[in-house]
Each structure stands twice: as C-alpha cells, then as structure tokens.
C-alpha cells in the first residue's frame, strides 16, 4: 500500500519554475512533431534549456507533453536523411537512461534538425564539450541543507562507536591509504595504522576490511572490503590473515568469522588469473567462506536491457510472464535479496561477525551491506536514516556513480555503465511491499531518488568517490538532493509507517513473492498507469495529518499528566523521556 502515484511525466515537472534563477536559459524553441509511441504523432513546440527539454502541445491548449532533464539522455541519433521519404521519417531519436525513447520528426528543409542535434549533444553530454555539469550552475535554494544529513562521526556514535574493540581512524584523511574510501574509517582497536597499510597492499585497490555496522546488542559486525590479491600463485599475506583474525576476536560468541563473497564461485576462481581471488580456508583457518552467486555489472546491464525491450514502447502482452522471466531481472533481485538476508541472519541470529566483498567491493558489496543494514536497523527505514545509508554505504564508500551512470558523458556503450544502484532501490521497493508499515518513505521517494540519479540537477550522485568530490568541492558548489526531499518531507511519507525499534525484517526472496515494479519500469505507458492517483494521495495526506494530530494530543495528555505527577518530592518521568514511548504507538 505504500505507493504514491507517479506524476504523469516525472517529478521535475512541477518544480521547474522555481529553478529559473538566471542559470536557466532557453537554447531552442521550435516546432516539431513528437512521435508518441502511445498516442501517435503530436504537433508541439519543443523548448530546450541548459537543464531540460520540454514540449508543449500545439493541439490541446499547450499542455505539457514532455519534460525531460537532459541528464537522462544517454544517446542521440539522427533518423532518416534529407532525401528520405515517408511521413515523419526525418528527425531525432533520443534514448534515455530511464527506460524510454523520444522521437521527434522535423521538416526536411534547411537542415532544421542540425541545431537541435548539436545543442542537445552539447548540453546532454557537457563533459565531452568542456562544459560544466548542470548541478554546478544550479542556484536553487532550499530551507534545509541536505549536505548536513550525513556526518560519519555522528553516525558511528549512534552505532555506539568507538568502543573498546573498534576505533575511528583518520589514516585515510588525505586518501593516501585508499583513494576510493572515505576519509574516516572504523577499524579494530588492536590493528595499528602500520598493520592497515600492510593489509592494504593485499586488497584490490587498497580497499581494506573496515566496519560498516555493529549490532547494538551482540556486538557482531558487518565488515566490507575488496577481494584479496591471491593470484594464480596463491599468494599469502600474514598481516591480512591476522587482521581478519583480530576482527573475529572482537566477538567471542562464535569461533568462526563468516566471509560472504558476493560472486559466483567460478567468477571468484577466474579472478585469480587477474591477480584477485578469495580467502581459501586452508589459509584463513578461522573463517568460513560462502559464495552468493550474484552476477557482475555486465550481466545486470543486459538483463535491464531485456526488461526495456518487453515494456517499451509496447508491452509484451501475449506471454507476459514468461517474457518477464526470460529477462532474469527478478531472479537477480532475488539473489541480491537472498544474499543480504543471509548476511543479516548471520549477524542477528548466528551471532557471527561477517565480512562482505566481491571483486572491488563497490557494487555488489554495497548492495549487500546496505540491504542487510536496512533489514537489521530500523533507523535506516526512516527518511533521514535512508539518506544516511545511501550517503554512507554508496556515496562515501565509492560506488562509482559517475562510471555506472555516465553523468554528462556521451559514450552510451561504455561497458562500465550498469544499473547496480537501481537494482538496490528495486530491492528496497520489494521490501517496502512486503512490510507496508515498516518504512517511513513511500514509493514516490524511491522514484524521486532514481529520477535525480540521472538528472544532474543535484550534486549528490556525481563522481566516483569522496576524494574526487572533495577536489571538485561538490558540497560547496552544488545542492544536495536531500535538500529537496527534506524541505518537503510530507510528500515522501508513508502514512502507514509504524515506528518500531529492534525489529529485524526478513523479506521473502522467493520468486512467488517478488514482482516487477510496474510503477517504475512501465510508468511511461498510459495504459498501465496507477489507477486513481489523486484520491489515494489525498487519503494518505489526510491520514498523515491525523497521525500528527494524534501524536500531538497524546503529547499534551502526557504533559498534563506528568505536571500533575511532578509534585516537589520526585517525578522521574519528564515528557521528553516519554516521547519515544509514545511514538512506538505508530
């Protein structure tokens, strides 16, 4: 039920007027025919600014037909030539990163498409033209600053760190130890900085095992890293072996450390040929290694391509379910969720500390640690908690957003591109479907994040790692996506959210309980669109208001009550102490 409808186009459309702040100028304004795959050709006027492309109909009271940030464009192709015949055969075909294509037909006379093609190419792919990405020009102002949402020291303090087993180290302050890791790391108390440097030489791209999350009660931990550099010759590294043993010893409830290698077994073996590998149990005596069979970025990219093939522009009708199955998309979702469930269960019920890695530790590893943390820690299921989770496990730990998404880059066939983050958000959506009251945010929140993953309006997802972001002064020069969301939180709230503490969520990852996220993947098709969007939203808003009202009333009651109780002798129950108790009601 936690589904807010998507607006007919996407979530940018309504805010557009507010971002015209001098930074915003119209480059093109011309008549074209938009070849809508659902309603046929529509005569309209296309406007292209340095941020977006939009189209107003010339037929029906200049309705807004399209509103597309240039950042979502992955490819622009010319179709037809000056001499091609047939109606609407001359124009542009634009492929978008959000599973749609836009086709425009233009008049053949006078190379009329040339300027449109050139302007689009320049501004959709600014990197190739030494132009800045739009986020650096955007002067939007919000009444909250999203960049302050995540503060690593505060987040680790919330987890109860440092403690007598784990310390915070600034060894990576200048990104010298590992250039794709954040400046601040949490490592075992008993490992010296010198140890860390030696371990770094044995881990792919120096991504050493560091703490992601600690269990508040049993003190077991989730640790992330990259593969060990074992190679064909089976190299060993004493410091790495001892370091993992030190991690194991921080938890005395079981005498084994669990290592989850996200890859399929054969891929892990194959990686030895390029110097990588995995922790074999004859070297790491006190560790158990499991493979989670999650495929690599190339497999995921091809799978999503197949999903697009069956949903856009026409939805495969006659054999929908078997076509969906043949994309393997849901199967990949299932494997990622299954892996995360294993990690969470090992930590929570198995009382064993867990090390998670794949090859480089920035794709599958980020999926697994962040999903496991979402299952284990209810804090991450609130809006701000989720922002912190993304900021921490994805952005600060160097998920290569720039390479995976290709912001402002024209090389649409780049083999580095892959929908890893989208897959993570899909897993979160599957969880929110199975636990309709466990998440503070709604579907619109997730779709908004995905829209701005591509839009380049915010700095949040730019660049591959923290060191690059720092160099570009992203936090000073751009606006954070969380500013947009947190300044208008009500739009993104799930009215059925019931705050609860210490509940571990174990979703069912069986194919029977997974479904295609129709409201995202098929949202451009008007025939599949969510029914009755507005009444649902209206009712949600009413319910939210009710809930707030109820909290307020209860609060008043408690105040009145405690005032009565607090006679001079002693009354320990102050209203602030009682608040969390009150909130457990919701």
């Amino acid at each position: 039920m936690a589904s807010a409808p998507t607006s007919k186009y996407n979530s940018h459309s309504l805010e557009n007027e507010s971002i015209k702040r001098g930074t915003f100028f119209i480059l093109i304004d011309k008549e074209v025919i938009y070849i809508c795959p659902f309603n046929g050709p529509i005569k309209g006027r296309v406007y292209i600014t340095n941020y977006r492309l939009y189209l107003r109909s010339l037929e029906t009271d200049s309705a807004l037909i399209l509103d597309v940030p240039l950042g979502v464009i992955s490819r622009i192709e010319k179709m037809g030539g000056a001499t091609s015949r047939g109606e609407n055969s001359y124009g542009l075909d634009i492929t978008c990163k959000d599973l749609r294509n836009l086709r425009f037909a233009l008049k053949q006379e006078g190379h009329s498409r040339r300027d449109m093609f050139e302007i689009l190419t320049r501004y959709a792919f600014p990197l190739a033209h030494s132009l800045p990405i739009f986020a650096f020009l955007n002067e939007e102002k919000f009444n909250v600053d999203g960049w302050t949402v995540y503060n690593p020291v505060e987040e680790y303090r919330r987890q109860g760190l440092p403690n007598h087993h784990w310390r915070i180290t600034f060894i990576n302050k200048c990104y010298k130890l590992c250039d794709t890791y954040p400046a601040l790391l949490v490592v075992p108390y008993r490992a010296s900085d010198e140890d860390l440097r030696r371990v770094a030489t044995f881990r792919s791209r120096n991504r050493i095992p560091v703490l992601s999350w600690i269990h508040p009660e049993n003190k077991t931990v989730i640790v992330r890293c990259s593969q060990p550099l074992v190679g064909m010759s089976g190299k060993r590294n004493k410091e790495d072996e001892r370091y993992l043993d030190v991690i194991r010893e921080t938890n005395r409830q079981v005498n084994k450390l669990t290592i989850y290698d996200a890859r399929p077994n054969v891929n892990a073996v194959a990686n030895k040929a390029t110097g990588g590998g995995y922790e074999s149990d004859d070297v790491y005596h006190n560790a158990e290694l499991f493979f989670l069979d999650i495929h690599n970025i190339h497999v995921m990219r091809e799978s999503l391509k197949k999903v697009k093939d069956i949903v856009y522009p026409n939805v495969e009708e006659s054999h929908w379910l078997s076509s969906l199955e043949s994309t393997h998309w849901l199967e990949h979702i299932k494997l990622v969720l299954t892996g995360a469930i294993q990690v969470a269960d090992r930590v929570s019920s198995g009382k064993s500390s867990v090390v998670v890695h794949c090859s480089d530790g920035w794709d599958r590893t980020a999926q697994l640690t962040s999903l496991a943390m979402l299952m284990l820690d209810s804090f991450y299921r609130s809006i701000e908690g989720f922002e912190i989770l993304v900021q921490k496990e994805w952005i600060s730990f160097g998920h290569k957003f720039a390479s995976r998404i290709g912001h402002g880059d024209k090389n649409h066939a780049d083999a580095d591109r892959s929908p890893i983050f989208l897959q993570f958000i899909d897993c979160v959506w599957q969880m929110s479907k199975q636990f309709p009251t466990a998440f503070e945010f709604n579907e619109r929140f997730l779709i908004t994040i995905l829209d701005h993953l591509y839009s380049c309006r915010f700095g949040t997802f730019l660049y591959n790692c923290e060191s690059a972001r720092e160099k570009q002064k992203v936090t000073e020069r751009t606006v954070s996506l969380w500013s947009l969301i947190n300044s208008n939180k009500d739009k993104f709230k799930n009215p059925f959210y019931t705050k609860e503490i210490n509940r571990v969520l174990y979703p069912v990852a069986s194919m029977r309980h997974l479904e295609l996220w129709v409201n995202y993947y098929i949202r451009w098709n008007p025939r599949i669109k969510q029914q009755q969007p507005n009444p649902v939203e209206q009712r949600y808003i009413e319910l939210l208001a009710l809930r707030d009202e109820y909290i307020k009333r209860l609060d008043e009651l408690q105040l009145a009550n405690s005032a009565k109780l607090s006679d001079p002798s002693a009354s320990p129950s102050s209203p602030s102490q009682m608040m969390p108790h009150v909130q457990t009601h919701f």
Partner: protein, 543 residues
C-alpha cells in the same frame, strides 16, 4: 443417529501441524458427525481446535511403526498434517473422515444443526429479496415490473420466485419465452443503470436448434427492453462463447440469437472458458503454488502455463466491455453463454461493481452476491463439491465463483479506496462457498432451497458476517465512497496472483492482517482523539 455408524473410533492422541508458521498443537483428537476436534492438554491453551469435515477435499494416510500420519487437504486450500499414535487409530480416523466428509445429503449437513449464540433463525434471510432491488429500479423508471410468474418455479427452476421483466410483457409471454431458453432462463433484468437509463439483462441461450427456430414472444421481450430504454437505444448481446461454439450449440438444440429476428441488437462474442478447463486451471495453479521443490527460476513460466491469470484477464475485460456499452454507448446489454448460470453471472456481477457505487459498499456487495449468484441460480452445490485437491473424477466442479472473487480482489488492488470491504471479506466468501456452517451457499437454486427449507432451518451467512467482532477483518479501513465508475486495467502487467489466497501456506513475512490491523489502528485512533479531552480519565488510555 446415522453418523454414529460412520464414526469408527472414539478418540486418539495426536499432534497437528498447521503450516510452517504456526506451532504444532498436541492433544486428544476426536470425531463428531460434522467435525474433527482437537482438544489440547490441560497445560496448553484451553481453545478447542475445530475443523468442519465438509472442508476436507482430500485425505492421505501413511503408517509407520506404531503411529500414523494423516494429511488433510482442505477445500479452503489449507493443508493440515496430523501425527497420530497407534496404527489402528490412524486408519479408523482416516476412514471416518473419508466417509463423513463425502456425505452428499443437504439436510443432514452441519448448517441444519448449527445454532450459534446471539443469532436467531430466520434473521437476515429477508435481507435481500428480489422485491427489494425492484424498489430501487422502480424509483428510477416504470418500464419494468416485478413478475411472480415463477412463483412455483414452473417457468424456471433456477430463477427465484419473483423476477424483474419489461412492463410491456405479460406473464404468458414470459412462459413462452422461458420455453425458448435453456433451463427456462428467459431474459430478466440484472441491473438498471440510472445515469444512462440502460439495463443489463441475463438469460440462457435461445433454443434455436438446427432448424433455426424462432420465438416471437422472446423477440417481443427484447424489443420491449429497447423501447423501455431511451428512444433509439441499441442493444448488445454479449455471448460468452466463441462464434463457432455458439453455432455448434445448434446441433444440440441450443444456439444464439439470429440477427434478423432481433432488430436493434448486435451480437458480440467473447470466449470465457468455464467448466472443466477452468477447474483444471485452478488445480494446476494450486499445485504450482504448493510445490515448494519446484526450481524457482521457472516460477513465472509455470504461473503463466496455469492460465488462471488469463481467465482473470478475459473475465475483467469482458465485464468492462459490458459496462462500457452501457455507460459510454448508452446501449442495453444482454449476457448469456449456454446455461447462463456461470460466465453470465461473472459478467453481470462484475459489470455492476464497475458501474454501481452502491454495490461496492459492504451491504451492497452482499446484496449483489445474494441477487446475482445465490438467487440467480449459480449451482453452488455442484460447482463447489470439490476444490483443487480432490482426486475424485471431476463432474460439475468449476471455480466460477472463485474467479469472480479473484476479479474483485484485482479491482480492490487497483482501487484501494473504492471498496468498503477488504480482502478478508473475499477470503471469507471463498471459504464459505466451499464449506460453511451457514446455509447461504447450500443447494443449487432457490427451488432446492425451498424444498430443503434452508431459509427456516439454517442461519444466513450475512447475519454471521454482520457480527461486530467480524467487522474489522472484513472491512476496508481506507474506504471512501467513490461515485464514479471504476475502470480496471486488464493488462497482464496490471494483474497479480492473489497471494493472500493461493499462497496461504507460504505466507509473506508480514501477513497482510498485521498490516491491516495497524492501518485500522491509525484510522480508528482518529475517533479516539476526537472524542477525548486532556482529562485524567483520558490520560489513562495513553500508552
């Protein structure tokens, strides 16, 4: 008493497994004429576990050593396992269950013995007589009348005593039309759509036969329907068979309306499978859902090959067609297949849910089921004799009513605020249609119910469901009356497997009831908040 001969054992010690989620129950097992009982030991909860034997669809027994295991697969799709001490006891219990669960006599069935506290016999049976719906129609138009020509069920054994027919047609014409329609099911009014002034009718197929017979009274009747609607109104006949099947039916005495004989009416064919293919689809689906060994990567393929969701799709889109013809084309619609007691009722009842906001209320929905299914002569006893697990050779079984409930569930999923009842109501209706302590779904038609005195000797399901303690399970907490028609999307991408029913055994981690309960709490907290003032007594109600 006759049941005593069939009960071969007094009692036995047993352990009951009700699925992976629930803890096993240990206790003393015994059998009565209608129930299997498990009474837990004194240390456990005092609650008695009770199973209506009529609910048992198939039974499987195994013995090993000095104990045995009985697996009961129920008509409501639950699977129970009983581990019983003693081989003899196991075999006796299995035989008793087999004998008692397959009793066919209606008047010795449990509803005739069920006397719950707080309910009075005869209550609620008068809730929804045909007269009641006629009053609604009569407020809008006087083109229709209530005819009691079928008072003694002589015209049509599967119609109720009173039916709504065009005012211009007299009872003798009805009698002749009845002879021209299969099962005597002459065209009667199913729903009057006031906004467009059009009507929905249902009937059995015309008995044109190979000689292409005609019946002038039947033709007059349909002419009168158009004349009674707005001037110039057209009509559509939605035939739920393929054109070939309709033509072929002539060889066996049936057929379809000839174009020339019914001016103003246009025939549309929309094939809806019923009977055997539908039952097989149901069996395959339940088998697939229960098959946990099945390799997971083929699940969607298997789901597709069960074809259940295509039945849902065809049914919903045909219902949309009928509703659209009325609402948007301003046409009258007559629906029939062959007998007019299965797919016909699916379409007429769903079209009403789409168009009529009243039928989406709790009371309206019950009225709809009573009027369009029970009184309209859907043969519940034949169709629901067995569910998906039975090994018995299928005769007349078909999950037509379940298909209706599934379509309603899809409507509710697409319009989460527009139905006053929730999934719990649909599940309850499914359970009661197959095995129930109430009399509502007994027998095949009104005539049989009269002979068995169902109305005076059993309780109505509607009075059972109106008990206050049931309401929270059955109602939709988010309901907001929606005065508009609700047009569902029948695209395959918009349809889902009804997990709450078909995956009853393998439940999601947060069962929908839990979420449902939380939503209820948020909604009802409003009333509490509004009623309470910050006083001493109110603050006690705090956390």
């Amino acid at each position: 008493m006759e049941f005593a001969e069939l009960i071969r054992t007094g009692q036995a010690q047993a352990e009951l497994l009700r699925g992976p989620e629930e803890p096993p129950l240990r206790g003393t097992l015994c059998i009565t004429g209608h129930h299997l009982l498990l009474s837990p030991g004194p240390q456990a909860t005092p609650d008695l576990w009770l199973l209506l034997l009529r609910n048992v669809d198939s039974i499987e027994k195994r013995v090993a050593g000095d104990s045995g295991t009985i697996t009961l697969r129920c008509k409501d799709l639950r699977v129970l396992q009983l581990d019983i001490e003693g081989v003899e006891a196991t075999l006796d219990i299995a035989r008793s269950i087999e004998a008692l669960s397959s009793l066919e006599s209606v008047i010795t069935s449990f509803p005739f013995f069920y006397r719950p506290k707080g309910l009075r016999l005869g209550d609620a049976w008068h809730f929804h007589p045909p007269e009641c719906y006629y009053k609604r129609v009569a407020r809008e138009t006087n083109a229709w009348r209530l005819s009691e020509a079928n008072e003694d069920f002589s015209l049509c054994p599967s119609y109720p005593r009173a039916v709504i027919v065009p005012r211009a047609v007299d009872d003798s014409a009805l009698a002749r039309s009845a002879r021209f329609r299969q099962g005597g099911r002459f065209p009667v009014l199913s729903y009057y759509h006031a906004p467009s002034g059009t009507v929905l009718l249902r009937a059995g197929q015309p008995l044109t036969g190979p000689q292409k017979r005609r019946c002038s009274e039947d033709e007059d009747l349909l002419r009168a329907v158009l004349a009674g609607a707005r001037p110039g109104a057209r009509g559509f006949i939605v035939d739920t068979r393929s054109p070939q099947a309709a033509k072929q039916a002539r060889m066996t005495g049936g057929g379809t309306e000839a174009k020339a004989a019914y001016p103003g009416w246009k025939r549309l064919h929309r094939l809806l499978e019923t009977g055997r293919p539908l039952q097989e689809s149901f069996v395959r689906l339940v088998e697939a859902c229960g098959d946990l060994e099945q390799s997971m990567d083929r699940w969607l393929n298997r789901l597709e090959s069960c074809r259940w969701l295509s039945h849902v799709k065809e049914t919903l889109s045909t219902a949309c067609l009928a509703a659209q013809s009325m609402e948007q084309e301003g046409a009258c619609v007559l629906v029939h297949g062959a007998e007019g007691t299965d797919s016909t009722l699916l379409i007429t009842s769903l079209a009403q849910l789409i168009l009529d906001p009243l039928s989406r209320t709790m009371a309206g929905f019950q009225e709809l089921i009573e009027r369009e299914w029970v009184q309209a002569g859907h043969p519940f006893q034949l169709r629901c004799a067995h569910s998906a697990f039975s090994h018995a050779r299928p005769k007349h079984e078909a999950p037509t009513f379940l298909l209706f409930l599934d379509c309603v569930w899809q409507l509710g999923r697409q319009f989460p605020l527009s139905l006053e009842f929730g999934e719990g109501m649909l599940l309850a209706l499914f359970d009661h249609a197959y095995a129930s302590p109430f009399g509502t779904f007994l027998c095949n038609n009104e005539k049989e119910r009269c002979l068995c005195e169902v109305r005076t000797r059993t309780h109505s399901l509607w009075s059972g469901l109106s008990q206050p303690k049931e309401q929270r399970k059955l109602r939709n907490p988010l309901y907001v009356p929606n005065p508009l028609a609700i047009w569902p999307s029948a695209e395959p991408q918009s349809l889902r497997l009804w997990q709450g029913l078909f995956l009853r055994g393998t439940r999601p981690p947060e069962p929908s009831e839990v979420a449902w309960e939380k939503v209820w709490q948020i909604v009802t907290d409003q009333e509490k908040t509004e009623g309470s003032q910050p006083t001493d007594s109110a603050s006690e109600a705090g956390p």
